[in-house]
């Protein structure tokens, strides 16, 4: 889901002329990946004129600074920029670990997790308010940080039994608005495919 953020950012900036190399991170990482991200050995890595940039949100911010002629992803005002960074950081700090518990753990320990998960989604709804996007009239840094998790929504519902549309209708509406944008729809992984992969992953890991 982190690589999708970079794809959306590049698409928003109209950058289509780039090479996307799929890494098979489960089986073996390529020598290039290990060379370009020796510290974490993780994707995504953006290689721009031979120089690597790592960590998805750092890459998105880099893209925004380099290709600053169109579609700003972060506000220029320092306070609004810090506000956007705060919420993107909240996505990584809170959303990531809690959503992972839903599909990466055995089912018995779900009640607390489900409650926490819905609370996080409602927190996002409150932050979104009446705005079209977290970025205002167009998608921005926070939208890009969060929308990639939408590709896991069918997975969350499958393993938790929750109906996310019933629990968080405004957030679902926001996600569908994002999907109307080419940059998002062309970058997000198919929800059913993600569910298939997670089911396989759970079998391999021996999770019930």
């Amino acid at each position: 889901m982190f690589a999708m953020r970079v794809k959306i950012a590049l698409a928003e900036k109209g950058i289509t002329d780039y090479e996307c190399r799929e890494e098979n991170i489960v089986v073996s990482k390529s020598p290039l990946l290990l060379q370009m991200n020796p510290v974490h050995k993780k994707i995504p890595v953006l290689i721009h004129n031979g120089k690597p940039i790592c960590e998805s949100l750092i890459i998105v911010e880099y893209i925004d600074e380099v290709w600053n002629h169109t579609s700003p992803l972060l506000p220029t005002d320092p306070y609004l920029k810090s506000h956007a960074k705060f919420w993107a950081d909240f996505v990584d700090k809170k959303m990531y670990p809690v959503q992972k518990k839903i599909w990466a753990t055995k089912e018995e320990s779900q009640d607390e997790t489900k409650k926490e998960f819905i609370e996080i989604l409602k927190t996002f709804e409150k932050e979104l308010g009446d705005k079209c996007y977290f970025g205002g009239d167009n998608i921005g840094f926070v939208d890009i940080a969060l929308i990639t998790y939408y590709s896991f929504f069918r997975t969350y519902e499958y393993f938790s039994g929750l109906s996310l549309e019933a629990e968080c209708p405004q957030l679902i509406a926001w996600a569908k608005r994002c999907l109307l944008k080419d940059s998002v729809s062309s970058s997000l992984a198919d929800m059913d495919k993600v569910l298939e992969i997670i089911i396989e992953y759970r079998k391999i890991k021996g999770i019930a």
Binding site: H48, I58, E65, V66, P78, S82, K85, F86
Partner: protein
């Protein structure tokens, strides 16, 4: 350019994260009101200004809150841009600095905490991991005086507060960090010559006493 305006920092003196913000404000010569929070009895202002995490540090600038230390430091750098730039102007160099500050965020706090809260084999592992972590940072520092190059910058600000915890780590862990990580100690001493750092970092022994008190309280509860 920033005008004279109201800057309040909600903080807690032993916090390495809070120290980052204090250093950044001092580097920029910003006048601010420092408020030490009692974390067991958080002020109304803290809860109002950081309702999501209810944590320090929070910078309250003209009544508007900025939270999360790395985000605050970047904000300070942008608002008070006329003096002592902390981040480079080149986008690639900026991404590079952000990467290393993020690395420090991901590993250093937990790594140091593991040393002073664990015993026996767990502590042996924690020390080994911490030394390795510092070696990675030393490799990144190379022969430069600062992570920022010739000038003290964003990555230096992110890391140097943890130096105030070294006495605790060495005492609790019964080891000398200088033996395996000479470069980091040299770099830290270089940073300590800066006024912004010297007036921010608490005395290492005072911090040690604080941790002993804290551990006693944990033991009681």
């Amino acid at each position: 350019m920033a005008n004279n305006n109201e800057v309040i920092l909600l903080d807690f003196w032993p916090s390495s994260f809070g120290m980052r913000v204090r250093i950044a404000l001092h580097e920029k010569g910003v006048e601010f009101e420092y408020r030490d929070e009692d974390l067991r009895n958080k002020s109304e202002l803290l809860v109002k200004m950081n309702p999501i995490h209810k944590k320090i540090p929070v910078l309250v600038h003209n009544n508007k809150p900025v939270c999360e230390s790395s985000i605050i430091v970047q904000y300070i750098d942008e608002v008070w841009s006329d003096k002592s730039p902390l981040l480079p102007s080149d986008p690639y160099q900026r991404a590079h600095a952000r990467f290393w500050a993020d690395f420090i965020d991901k590993k250093t706090y937990d790594g140091t905490k593991k040393i002073w809260t664990s015993k026996g084999e767990d502590q042996v592992v924690a020390k080994k991991e911490f030394i390795e972590h510092l070696k990675v940072l030393e490799e990144q520092l190379g022969d430069k005086p600062y992570f920022g190059g010739d000038t003290f910058g964003y990555v230096d600000v992110s890391l140097i507060p943890f130096y105030s915890w070294f006495y605790i780590l060495e005492t609790e862990g019964n080891f000398k960090i200088e033996e395996s990580n000479t470069k980091i100690i040299e770099w830290a001493k270089r940073c300590m010559q800066r006024e912004s750092v010297a007036k921010t970092l608490p005395d290492q022994k005072k911090l040690y006493e604080f941790v002993q008190e804290y551990k006693k309280k944990l033991g009681v509860e």
